[in-house]
């Protein structure tokens, strides 16, 4: 079965001296996006992951923006292929509230 590897940025500015990366291996399915991956990780692996899940999922609101392999994108529009490794980070490290959640504006 095809798999996806996700390396996810984790950081709590209040308690962690340094950010770290957690690695998750997930099943692949056609059309999966980075947002789908984050929801999958939260649902099945790790409830401590901070990300913005209240989203339109339809390329509009931009609330799900993250950095995918170094490029700022709407995660609902970042398609992942079979066998891919994706590095998921906050789009602005200076404004991290926790993990992938960033202060907007």
């Amino acid at each position: 079965m095809d798999q996806i590897t996700a390396r996810v940025f984790r950081y709590n500015p209040q308690s962690d001296p340094e950010p770290r990366y957690d690695e998750f291996v997930l099943p692949y399915d056609k059309g999966v996006t980075v947002l789908g991956i984050l929801r999958y990780i939260y649902d099945n692996h790790d409830g401590t992951l901070a990300f913005r899940n209240y989203h339109c999922g339809a390329l509009i609101c931009g609330c799900c923006q993250v950095s995918v392999n170094g490029k700022r994108m709407k995660s609902c529009n970042a398609v992942v292929g079979p066998g891919d490794t994706v590095v998921i980070e906050p789009f602005d490290r200076e404004r991290v509230i926790r993990d992938l959640v960033v202060r907007f504006d």
Partner: protein
């Protein structure tokens, strides 16, 4: 616990809540606006399409608010309160012009609104916002920023409305996700603008934060709730992936299927057309036609039908031209990432929850049955009836948002003093939340319980229900309440703990789910989006509201006449 004291507290920062805040500020009262996410990047309004319905009569001079009123009453299957529909249809134009004043761009041609006709409308009456609900929200947000006295709290989870000595709303207790702290709000009037409850089901095209929180809080205060069985299904929504099931995308069928627009076809699993000839059906009718194909074994393996634009008589160049002209590109982009070219590939679609028709009962001043509690937008329940025509939702946010802001200001001005809050209530709520962090012997994550509730609602209280299925729903929900909720445990984190939000939402969901099942049990007929397999016909005697009211743990069920003009 830090405290915020304002005249008017508004819960929910979508179209209705922001409009209410602007109005209250203009009336000179102090306002706090709290929102579960980021304003314009959460909730329901930013996800809406381009449709703002208002009878300017620019496309056809015969159109006017009376015709808009008649269309809304008829297509709501005579279940909307006519005083509210009249307010909506009479004021939608003025509120639309105000939106333009806030900087929201509508499509105009030679100065006039370029209106189009959607199903259920006698004349073309849809005024288009090319940037859709999202741009409307950005305009409102910009206007909100001009009212600098309004205190805005984002990423703020309201858990409970607190009451004064007479049981009147006197504030709320909330958790600020960014700070990881509780906040006590004290207010003279409270406006609920917290949206609907689509998330109770597995298949929705809305954001995952539409969990009925405001409805659950209103129920707890003993407010009257009306027609909760009415969940509007949008007929044409993509299925999503089996591994990543949340990815449902709404496809606006009017532009895709109407012969005068893109001329696509809707086919069953055998590739046959099944829509009756003539005008494109409105949403409840189309949803039922699709379900009929499923029930009679003519759907695809996944219980869906196919939308197919390759069968359109239009050539590729004309197709492209019309997609641009209609502003329909976004729907093509929405499925592109799945590797689907909507102009060429047939796509599986089925009905999914789209808009909460039922909700808190209001009057034309947006007062609920609890004095001092106002409601506007999707959280309210008696405007549209058993079905809603396209474009009335965005108009509703503005018309009733403004009215709620005005009503709450008046109420606050009439109160000389802040009603005293029982601090124990706030503290009890803090203890309840703290209890979620406590380690349990056999813990359940909120997401597990959420999925269970959604499964129950999908199986027993979905598009087709019956007395036996609804009774099973109530039994299964009772088991969730008694056996699962006490085991719910969240990650021990204070700053932006998504699991904590999930847990608070699950608490709302199970309460509202039970009320929905009870309301659905009460309505022994089929009307609009409520389909009972054991009562498949519309019953003249049921041209009335179902009415629910909580008193402690007891739910009082009755009915109420629809208000006629």
């Amino acid at each position: 616990m830090d405290q915020v004291r304002v005249d008017v507290l508004i819960i929910g920062g979508g179209g209705a809540g922001v409009r209410a805040a602007i109005e209250a500020d203009q009336n000179g009262v102090s306002v706090a606006l709290v929102n579960k996410g980021i304003i314009s990047r959460s909730g329901l309004t930013p996800m809406a399409g381009y449709s703002y319905q208002a009878a300017f009569g620019h496309a056809d001079p015969r159109d006017n608010p009376e015709v808009h009123f008649a269309d809304t009453v008829r297509e709501g299957r005579y279940l909307g309160d006519e005083n509210l529909i009249w307010a909506l249809t009479r004021e939608a134009m003025e509120r639309g012009l105000e939106l333009e004043g806030y900087g929201v761009r509508f499509t105009r041609e030679e100065g006039k609104f370029a209106q189009v006709r959607h199903p259920g409308q006698t004349y073309p009456r849809i005024n288009r916002i090319p940037g859709r609900g999202y741009q409307m929200m950005l305009g409102l947000k910009k206007e909100l920023a001009r009212h600098s006295r309004i205190q805005v709290f984002e990423d703020c989870l309201v858990q409970k409305i607190l009451t004064g000595p007479e049981g009147e709303p006197a504030g709320a207790v909330a958790f600020l996700q960014r700070e990881g702290q509780f906040r006590l709000f004290q207010a003279k009037a409270v406006v609920l603008a917290s949206g609907g409850y689509e998330e109770l089901w597995e298949k929705t095209d809305t954001a995952p934060d539409s969990t009925g929180d405001g409805l659950a809080m209103a129920a707890e205060l003993g407010a009257e709730l009306v027609d909760l069985e009415m969940m509007l299904y949008y007929p044409i929504v993509t299925l999503g992936s089996k591994v990543f099931p949340s990815m449902h995308q709404v496809l606006q069928y009017e532009s895709l299927l109407e012969p005068e627009y893109l001329g696509g076809k809707l086919l069953n699993g055998r590739g046959e057309e099944f829509l009756p000839p003539g005008k494109l059906p409105v949403r409840d009718v189309l949803s039922r036609l699709i379900v009929k194909e499923r029930v009679e074994g003519r759907a695809t393996d996944r219980g869906a039908v196919l939308i197919d634009l390759s069968k359109s008589p239009l050539g590729p160049a004309e197709m492209e031209r019309r997609i641009e002209e209609l502003g329909a590109r976004v729907q093509f982009n929405r499925v592109k990432y799945l590797g689907v070219d909507l102009t060429r590939d047939p796509v599986e679609v089925a009905p999914a929850c789209h808009y909460s028709l039922g909700g808190v009962r209001i009057n034309e001043r947006t007062q609920t049955s609890v004095p001092g509690l106002f409601a506007a937008g999707e959280v309210s329940g008696n405007i549209h009836g058993a079905n809603r025509i396209s474009g009335n939702a965005l108009a509703e946010t503005q018309v009733f948002g403004r009215r709620a802001g005005a009503g709450a200001s008046l109420k606050a001005r009439a109160c000389r003093e802040f009603p005293p809050i029982r601090r124990e209530d706030a503290e009890e709520n803090v203890r309840r939340i703290e209890g979620l962090f406590v380690r349990k012997a056999d813990p359940l994550r909120p997401v597990q319980i959420r999925k269970k509730i959604q499964r129950i609602m999908e199986e027993e209280a979905g598009l087709i229900r019956s007395e036996p299925s609804l009774r099973r729903a109530l039994d299964r929900l009772q088991a969730v309440k008694q056996e699962d909720l006490p085991r719910m445990q969240v990650a021990d984190l204070r700053i932006f703990n998504y699991e904590l939000q999930d847990a608070v939402e699950v608490g709302s969901m199970v309460e509202v789910a039970e009320l929905v099942a009870r309301a659905a049990l009460l309505r022994t007929e089929s009307r609009g989006h409520h389909f009972r397999s054991d009562h498949p016909r519309e019953d003249e005697g049921w041209r009335k509201h179902t009415l629910l009211k909580k008193r402690g743990e007891e739910v009082l069920c009755s009915s109420a006449p629809v208000i006629r003009l």
